[in-house]
């Protein structure tokens, strides 16, 4: 990975400038041009390193969310995952090594709609949903610290 791409990842997972030309501001700080920054971000997006540029919301303030899990027979896991993924509020859906082998986050505008989504997911997925809403966060999200090779 190019140095500029590494710098962008190291320094701008938080506090992206909120000004008319944020990438010009970033470029000035890093000693490159605005188009260098935009091109680098486009490359990162295209090669799949970058999920997006934007906000990470606080679950509690932005709406309602929970971590949900299902215990699904391995043979139908992909099929069930696809049905679960069809719900707009589902994100971060992973297969994990456990009896509960399908883990996903569900978000909704409010608690009532979250509960309704969980029921609908259970019905469509065909397996019981275990819901584990966050009780307390011990973590301040500053982005992911990459150890470059």
């Amino acid at each position: 990975m190019k140095l500029l791409e590494q710098q962008l990842i190291d320094e701008y997972q938080k506090d992206l400038p909120v000004c008319s030309r944020p990438y010009l501001e970033v470029a000035k700080r890093l000693g490159v041009t605005e188009s260098d920054v935009v091109s680098a971000l486009k490359r990162l997006k295209e090669n799949g390193t970058l999920s997006r540029i934007g906000p990470v919301f606080n679950h509690k303030k932005a709406g309602a969310s929970t971590l949900a899990a299902m215990a699904v027979p391995e043979a139908v896991l992909a099929e069930v995952a696809e049905r679960v993924n069809a719900f707009e509020g589902v994100n971060h859906n992973y297969a994990r090594e456990h009896k509960f082998n399908l883990w996903f986050v569900v978000t909704a505008p409010d608690q009532d709609q979250l509960q309704a989504s969980l029921k609908a997911i259970e019905l469509s997925g065909g397996y019981k949903v275990m819901s584990l809403p966050m009780v307390k966060s011990h973590f301040i999200d500053l982005g992911f610290k990459v150890k470059w090779q």
Binding site: S20, E88, W103, F139
Partner: protein, 175 residues
């Protein structure tokens, strides 16, 4: 800015800013707002804590961090805050949340995430975290991921939201 405009803006940015030189202006034009209204709203949300961080959101897997372990712990209630603080201060830990137990099938109340370049490294990191923080007596389990089915930002404002009933439509943003 009124409530509906705020929701429309949240809907627009939850999947990422457009990758243009003036992203806030681009958003403003799409939503019928001014650039300064968009910037003010985002700044306000950062200040009031609704936005935890604002910037690049990376995919661990694409960066070579292919081992992703959810490490869950069964910690007595009187110690869980303390252990949560200890875990969250470890470099290798990328998330640390308390969640309720769901007895009888789920007995863990503290969730931490470790992303590593391989499984062996993650297990070594976990071993040293356990030893350094004196956590060996607590029951724990390690749930490595083995397939990613979906990864995106939280969709708090949804198409099914009441706005839909007001006849408003959204243009999906995908950077």
């Amino acid at each position: 800015m009124d409530d509906i405009s705020q929701l429309r803006l949240r809907k627009a940015i939850q999947n990422g800013l457009p990758l243009t030189e003036q992203p806030y202006l681009t958003l403003a034009q799409e939503l019928g707002l001014t650039e300064s209204q968009v910037m003010q709203a985002i700044t306000d949300w950062q200040n009031d804590g609704m936005i935890k961080r604002f910037g690049l959101v990376v995919k661990h897997h694409s960066l070579g961090y292919t081992a992703n372990a959810m490490v869950v712990w069964d910690i007595p209630e009187d110690k869980v805050n303390n252990v949560g603080e200890l875990l969250s201060s470890c470099d290798a830990v990328t998330l640390c949340y308390q969640r309720p137990r769901q007895l009888p099938e789920w007995n863990y109340n503290l969730f931490s995430m470790i992303h590593g370049q391989d499984r062996e490294t993650v297990l070594q990191q976990l071993a040293s975290i356990t030893e350094q923080n004196d956590l060996a007596d607590f029951k724990r389990d390690v749930l490595f991921s083995y397939k990613l089915f979906k990864q995106c930002g939280g969709q708090y404002v949804q198409a099914s939201h009441e706005l839909a009933s007001k006849g408003l439509t959204f243009k999906e943003q995908s950077l």
